[in-house]
Symmetry: C2
Subunit: 412 residues, 2 copies
Amino acid sequence: MMAAQATVSSERLWESLMAMAEIGRTPAGGVRRLALSDEDRRARDLFVHWLQDAGCTVRVDDLGNIYGRRAGAEPGAGPVVCGSHLDTVPTGGRFDGALGVLGALEVVRAMNDASLVTRRPVEVVCWTNEEGARFAPAMLASGVVCGQLTIDAAYGSRDSAGRSFGEELTRIGYRGEAEHRLQAPVAYVELHVEQGPILERAGAQIGIVEGVEGIAWGWIDVVGQAAHAGPTPMEDRLDALVAASRAVLAIRTMAKELPGVRTTVGRCDVSPNTINVVPGAVRLSTDLRARDAAALQAAAQRLQDVCTAIGAQDGVEVRASEFWRSPPTPFAAMVVDAVADTAHSLRYTTRRLWAGAGHDAKYVADRFPAGMIFVPSAGGLSHNEAEWTPKEDCGRGGAVLLGTVLRLTASA
Amino acid sequence: MMAAQATVSSERLWESLMAMAEIGRTPAGGVRRLALSDEDRRARDLFVHWLQDAGCTVRVDDLGNIYGRRAGAEPGAGPVVCGSHLDTVPTGGRFDGALGVLGALEVVRAMNDASLVTRRPVEVVCWTNEEGARFAPAMLASGVVCGQLTIDAAYGSRDSAGRSFGEELTRIGYRGEAEHRLQAPVAYVELHVEQGPILERAGAQIGIVEGVEGIAWGWIDVVGQAAHAGPTPMEDRLDALVAASRAVLAIRTMAKELPGVRTTVGRCDVSPNTINVVPGAVRLSTDLRARDAAALQAAAQRLQDVCTAIGAQDGVEVRASEFWRSPPTPFAAMVVDAVADTAHSLRYTTRRLWAGAGHDAKYVADRFPAGMIFVPSAGGLSHNEAEWTPKEDCGRGGAVLLGTVLRLTASA
């Protein structure tokens, strides 16, 4: 082991990021690389080429997840795995996902430069369809690999044009073998951009991620009565949008009253949605997040109470129904500590935080020791063509990933 | 003149209404008869057939408006005109429009039964595309005839499939001659269902309509900033839907504070409208109505003030822009009095009210003496397949229309 001698090249990592960002590049400088599209295939082909160039053994599983393995010294030892995803949202940026995949590749390249021999194998992974922008749900492939979703559900998921995940996976030539799936890692580490403003605002260079917040998704269905806006007196109306607006504001207020809870109403679909008709029905979406399971449950209960109260006040039906809940997931202390120790030894400024968004690391953490490293997102912007993380921040993230992997392959 | 002897047949009027309702009948018992559709053509063909059977001279103008003329005794005397429309909204009812057209036909039939000779000619009119459901704007053909819209704008109006009003008018064979347009009526009377609950609630059999309320239509554009619902702290959000919800509630409150004003937000379009993204932009529609021009203006001003205040409170852009205003239109005293005198002489219970919805009578009233007669709508329901007005109410409406036309042809 000669860990001290391996060094990440910020320059090489940046060049790889920018070369990858050419695939699916948008006129505004962002990236459109939907899962299993032709752009995704070209990105995969380039990544596989780079893995092979770096001496990795490449395998593809039945979900299209790509693994590049750098052998270790100890026969039969479980690998340390690091990676992320290469798909993007329709108008995405250059860093979300790609930084974690190419950062992991840079770790292997840096080890090669130093002719480093690790005790355990090191694997670089690229997960399929993390974003869920084309095929629902998000984190589809890691979900199957980690036992949260069935392979049939994955293959049967269809995009808006009716094409299935299974067909498209075959079409782009990345349908591999089930026996190639993730093999009992001793640890998994994912480098990612924060996608929020916390690190930038705190002046921290590295985010030590302690876990992934719990998420509860649901609908609120408001049913009033559609009526002609002209002849219908105000006192006769059962206006679903008025009641829905009360719900939006009450849900916003909840986040002030319940510490550690964030609430979002992102969708609002009105029926019939016509200028001269009093709205008869509205569906709102609800997104509740908290790092504490009890807080999440309290928010879900408050949501029910709010809906009951508004329904009674306005004389309309207001029904909240939760359709998905992902519990809060703390990361393994072993991995979190390795990240923290590495960052501190490199004298980077750090901040501990929880991931508010979903990541493949969440599903992996359900089964194996896992953790994440965040680097700042300028202005907190993400899922946006203007997404930006400077070269130096990417390099620091790569350096912490390298150090963390080296600690884990030595000690885990 | 032997006015006393002409009598409307409720039975015959009802049979005509039900026969017409077969054309475009929906499974739920409503009517789908969009303007210039094949259903509209069949309805027109039947109507023309009935007019000819009743001895009327039929002409069609360049907007497809159909006029059936029953001659009067005095050479060159201006006609008394009555009618409405045969087109419906996509899921409309059996009475909206059809009652006014077939009620006017029944007036002619009743006069024929009594061999009545009137001083002035009596014309029955069917206006094209009153609803505006297929071709915007509503009341397109009466708007052109009464000088509020150009013929080019009418012909160029396109449906959602891209077909133009002009092409479709030719296709169904109802593009007539410009010289056949409405010819200087001494009075216009339109029988219509109320489309609201006022008459039913008041226990009134006949509504004496004093005018058409003013309408102001506009948009409210809210621009915040889209952000990922996961990693974005609550205090960093510029949530356009939260601000829009405040606007919906403030606009509802306006109607309580400004006497005689009704307000509706019927549309709400959210961008990007995704469950896990804080809304970046929202467009709301606004519909303000009042019978008093000053009250309508006060409401429009209040709308601006409300938007300014919400924008300042939430730190987002909130911009209200009015794109159409139709001023309040009082009906001619001569016509209103003739309706009232007739209803009272028939000993019907009455209530005076203003029309909250647009009608062809509004445009006609801009140029000629005009008025309307309302009959009750069960439950106030309209633009709905369950729209209902009992046979007796239809008959009473027809009787008041007959009496009003006779008064006007004698005295006007």
